[in-house]
Structures are given as structure tokens and as C-alpha cells.
Symmetry: C2
């Protein structure tokens, strides 16, 4: 008997993956949490039925959401990750020598627990309780309201703008992010697919540009996400990521996707994407 799970990426399109086994299902206060083992992608974290990350391609999302903003800042020391309960983003953040403190605020403790058990390759920094890590289970929106002038880089590693992630895509949240950043700080957020979420991307770009003098969109190829093309939006108080000094990126940083050329080329936008954010 073949088992297939279909994620409906839009109401008219699905990605269907052959499943070896369901390793875990549970319900937290916030969402349904599942881990399945798939033939194509290996083990996958699934929240409310939506693929979040997989052993096969997680390196792309996690490297690109972490290294692009961190190498856009000349000396990131204090970094905050909002969300990112699987630990993949924190795993990449702590690789940066300049980083002294890597805080993480994840709303759903069950995601952390399940990732530590079923996705140890991804959650390694959580399992090891890495010395730079400060993990807090709590509401990222509330945390952001309470801090001021603290972070060099904030990484909003959230799920889709429905469910627990919804408030992380609001103007009020971006105001708090601005306040929580140091005077030369910058932040990044995953902002979905330039093919299927164009209205969202336009709105976020306008929201962020109304607060931050520098806003930039960049791209990465992530096969398990809708359309395979994913974008990230940076809001920066001072540094322009496009002119970052790529010579600072170590030649052998242990990455499988990111490198010096990708740090630059990810900001090159096809015409139809330029149209969205101009």
C-alpha cells in the first residue's frame, strides 16, 4: 500500500510526496505538529498540514535566512531569532564568530521538543544547548514589545501568515522590530513565494520601507516550498546588504548552498519580481 501526502500550496496546486511512515502527530496549544518520513525529502516537519522543513533541503532555507543578513552586518554580536523552533536557523547563527549571544523566542515548545527528538541534524544547537544560545519559549510579538536598542540582527523565521505566525506580518510588529534593533541593526523575514504570494510581498515591502531606510528582497531555491522559489525581505537601518563586503565570508564556511557569489547574486531579481517591490 502506497501512502501519499498532498500539501495544497494554493487552492489549485498541490505537492504530493510518497510517505514511508508517520513518526509523530500531536496537538499543541497553537497547531497540529507532525513529523513524517518521506522518500523524496526524508524526515519532514509538518505544521497544520504545511511542510515546514525537511532533511533533504533544510540547509537552503536555514543558510539563506541566517547568513545573508549576518554577512550584511559588519559585526553582528547580539542576534535574535523569532520562531525557528526546529533549531536550523540557530544552528547557522552560532557559526558566526562575531556572534556572542543568539537568543531564540519560539512560541510553541512542542515544536522544539519534537524537533529535538526527530530532527536532530537540524536541532543540533538546541540538543547541545550551545553556549551562545538563549532559548525562551514564549510569544515573539510580546518579547519584541519589551526590548529596545538591543539586537544587531533579528531573524523572523516564521511559518505562513495564517495561524500562530499571523501577527509577525503586521505593521505594528515591524515598529517593535525597529525599536528592538540597535541604531545600525537590520532584520530579515521569510516572505513566501514571488510567484504565488505577490500581494503579501508588495504589502510587506511597503510596510517595511515605511520604517526602514533600506529594504531589499532576496531569493533562494527551496524545492519543498510553493513554486520552488522563496523570498526573504530585509529591513535595515543603515547597511545596504547589496554592497556588503563578500570578502569577509570565509572560503570554507561549511555551507552547502550559501557562498560569496550567492550572497551577491541572491539580490538579482527577475523583472517580474522587481515589479513587485519597486
Amino acid at each position: 500500500m502506497e501512502l501519499w501526502y498532498t500539501e495544497y500550496q494554493t487552492k489549485n496546486l498541490g505537492l504530493t510526496a510518497r510517505i514511508k511512515a508517520t513518526l509523530y502527530t500531536g496537538q499543541s496549544e497553537f497547531q497540529e505538529v507532525a513529523v513524517v518520513d518521506s522518500y523524496q525529502f526524508g524526515r519532514m516537519l509538518v505544521l497544520d498540514g504545511v511542510f515546514q522543513t525537511s532533511i533533504f533541503d533544510e540547509f537552503i532555507y536555514h543558510e539563506m535566512i541566517a547568513h545573508v543578513p549576518l554577512f550584511a552586518h559588519p559585526n553582528p554580536q547580539t542576534v535574535l531569532v523569532i520562531g525557528g523552533g526546529d533549531g536550523g536557523t540557530i544552528r547557522e547563527v552560532v557559526k558566526h564568530q562575531s556572534v556572542e549571544v543568539a537568543e531564540m523566542v519560539e512560541i510553541d515548545g512542542l515544536v522544539v521538543d519534537v524537533s529535538k527528538k526527530y530532527l536532530p541534524e537540524i536541532s543540533v544547537a538546541l540538543n547541545e544547548n550551545h553556549p551562545k544560545l538563549r532559548l525562551k519559549i514564549g510569544d515573539g510579538i510580546k518579547h519584541m514589545q519589551e526590548v529596545e536598542n538591543k539586537y544587531d540582527v533579528i531573524i523572523v523565521d516564521c511559518s505562513d501568515p495564517i495561524g500562530p505566525g499571523e501577527g509577525l506580518f503586521s505593521h505594528a510588529f515591524y515598529q517593535d522590530v525597529y525599536k528592538a534593533l540597535k541604531p545600525d541593526g537590520l532584520f530579515v523575514q521569510q516572505t513566501e513565494s514571488p510567484f504565488y504570494h505577490q500581494e503579501l510581498i508588495k504589502r510587506l515591502k511597503q510596510d517595511i520601507a515605511s520604517l526602514f531606510p533600506v529594504t531589499r528582497l532576496y531569493l533562494a531555491n527551496i524545492p519543498q516550498y510553493p513554486s520552488g522559489l522563496h523570498c526573504f525581505t530585509i529591513g535595515s537601518k543603515q547597511y545596504d546588504p547589496v554592497t556588503a563586503d563578500i570578502a569577509r565570508i570565509p572560503e570554507n564556511f561549511g555551507t552547502r548552498y550559501h557562498n560569496r557569489e550567492i550572497q551577491k547574486s541572491c539580490f538579482a531579481l527577475p523583472n517580474f519580481v522587481q515589479e513587485l517591490v519597486k
Copy 2:
């Protein structure tokens, strides 16, 4: 009643699209030819059950397979397209002022006829019988054996390496391509997904590098193709596409994906892709 069509991109992964209507199905000497109208991608050409092109995203494939090699050559005048029966590649080729003759050799006349009727936005240069176009219905492999020192650029716009396209992925074919090119000529071929077709890409790169002094891989994001990331391989007798003069690319070339920055950035490869072709 909802109709869905699933293309199995690998044996463990499918893309499933909600279908409005089947507009055409027929059987040629070579393959099953179908046109469906889908909600997500609009009208789609389907050959032997595999999505070939769609109104929604065809511009990406056709712009990238045509403009990247044509702008890598300083003065392409005589161009050959092998395959490309839907006409999308020829539509882009004839936009280049330097191009005087755009030959096209497509094996399956039914693909041309069906595209002219159901995909006129794509087949426009065929429908208009563009003055630069020389269309021949015939075997591209045989055509290549018969010509010598003729073309500036050859574009191999083929389907997957099974079925009628199979012989276009062979060492013998690349030898004929080399012979058919002028002494400073170059060719390009679509070479599938860097995520799901790694062995194929490695083998083709080696085959092409054994004949051509310059070989380069480049990338484009095509949501309807497996993994959403597609690659193209260039074999060149003289010019290195990476150092092409992008200032020659007109600012307003009427493209929706390709532009000066993309012409450069498409050659920036993630580490895992560099590994495949080193």
C-alpha cells in the same frame, strides 16, 4: 466535480494541478500530445504526461534558454533551435537584432500544429511565419549530422531524456553539434533539475567538457518543472558566458524574467551545484 492531474516528477513526488478542461489530446508518431487548461498555470502543453510549458511561466524557460547564450555571443547571426515545437524559444531568438536566420528543426509536426492552435501567445513567431524563421519538421539528430561550420548559436530545446528527446543527450550528438558550429560558436541545452537529476547533469557536463573548451551551467526558477529549479548547460568553442559584456543587453528588451543582472547572476551556483560540475 474537481479534476486534478498529477505529474509524477520523480517516483516519490508529484505536482498536482486542478484542471478546468482538457482542450486537446492526440497521438503522434512520437508521443501523446495534450493541452489542458489549469487554474494555476493556465493552458499547458503536456507530452507523454509530462508538463512542458504553460501560459503562466513559459516566459522564464524561453527567455533563459534563448537570451543567455545569445548575449554570451558577441554577434549571433545564424541560430538553430532543435526541438522547441511550441515556438516559445524562436519567439525570443528573433527579437535579437543581429540574428538574420533562425532555423528550427522539430521532430513532431503535431506539437507545432497544436501549439499554433491552442498556445498562440507562445507560438506567435510560427503563426506569423516570422521572416527570420526557417522551420523544418524533421529529425534534429540527422540534421546535425548533415551540417558543418554553419551556426553561431545552437539551442537544444528538448524534452526529457526519455522518448523522442533521448538521442539529444548523447556524446555522438554533441560531436555533431561541435562540427555544426562555427569556430567561435556555442550551444546550450536544457539539462533538468540540479536537485533531482544529478547523475545526468554530471555525465552531460563531462561529455560536453570533453569536446568544448568552455562549459558553464546556469540556473532559472521554473515553478512547473521538478523542484522549481532548472539548469542549462553551455558548451562554447571560444567565448566564456560568465564574462559576457552585459552592457550590450538593451535596457528595455521586453522580457519579464531576464535582464542584465540575471544574465550574470544565473551563473552563480550554490555549493551543492558546484560540486556536481567541478
